[in-house]
């Protein structure tokens, strides 16, 4: 039964991963990363169910908190960039190269 959830979780992770690679707006890229973290959470609770122990559910809590902290830091950085350049596109961030 739990296989379905794992497949869903893998799909979400892949969608998030592809999104990070192809999207251009920093906010959307970041949302895709969050999607990947949520895919992890789904996998954790599924495995917790499968193994019959609570570790996985506990990990999901921690992941949510860490993700929230990451959101706050990330949005702060993106807003800072936006205010400077009036753009949140990762293509415009091209000053650093050799």
């Amino acid at each position: 039964m739990t296989t379905h959830y794992l497949v869903l979780s893998a799909l979400l992770f892949a969608i998030g991963g592809i999104g990070v690679l192809v999207r251009r707006n920093a906010i959307v890229v970041f949302m895709c990363v969050e999607l990947m973290l949520n895919a992890c959470n789904l996998a954790f609770v599924t495995f917790a169910r499968q193994h019959g122990n609570l570790d996985g559910q506990l990990i999901a809590f921690f992941v949510m908190v860490v993700a929230a902290a990451e959101v706050v830091i990330g949005l702060a950085i993106i807003v800072m960039i936006f205010r400077t350049r009036r753009s949140a596109s990762v293509d415009d961030a091209n000053l650093l190269k050799y």
């Binding site: 506990l58 809590f61 949510m64 908190v65 929230a68 902290a69 959101v71 706050v72 949005l75 702060a76 807003v79």
Partner: protein
């Protein structure tokens, strides 16, 4: 039946608080009418005409949202602790107090840096 007594007491306390607050407010609170208060209720914010296709929100909305996320999520750790409160005993209590103090430090920082002021 005794098992349910605390719940009943809590319900009575809650109801009492709600009724008390609602009845006392008209007598103690200041009354200052302005246009915003007489406007149709939307979300508590003065309704403003929105540009077509959205438009940008001021940054202060985002700051509020970020603060909310951080402090809201911390609650996550309180639930499991509350469930196992008895078994964790003194250790759990001390650890949780430490945790809340840590969050409180962040709160103090936000407050002193005027993160809670709207204007």
């Amino acid at each position: 039946m005794e098992l349910y007594a605390p719940i009943l007491v809590l319900a009575v306390l809650a109801a009492g608080f709600a009724i008390f607050s609602v009845t006392i407010a008209p007598f103690t609170g200041p009354r200052r009418w302005n246009r915003a208060k007489l406007d149709a209720y939307e979300c508590g914010i003065e309704p403003t005409p929105q540009p077509v296709g959205g438009g940008r929100f001021p940054l202060k909305y985002m700051i509020t949202a970020m603060l909310f996320i951080v402090f809201d999520i911390e609650i996550i750790f309180l639930y499991p602790w509350a469930v196992a409160f008895d078994q964790l005993g003194m250790f759990g209590l001390v650890e949780m107090v430490l945790f809340i103090v840590t969050v409180l430090v962040a709160y103090a920082y936000v407050w002193r840096r005027k993160g809670l002021d709207w204007d």
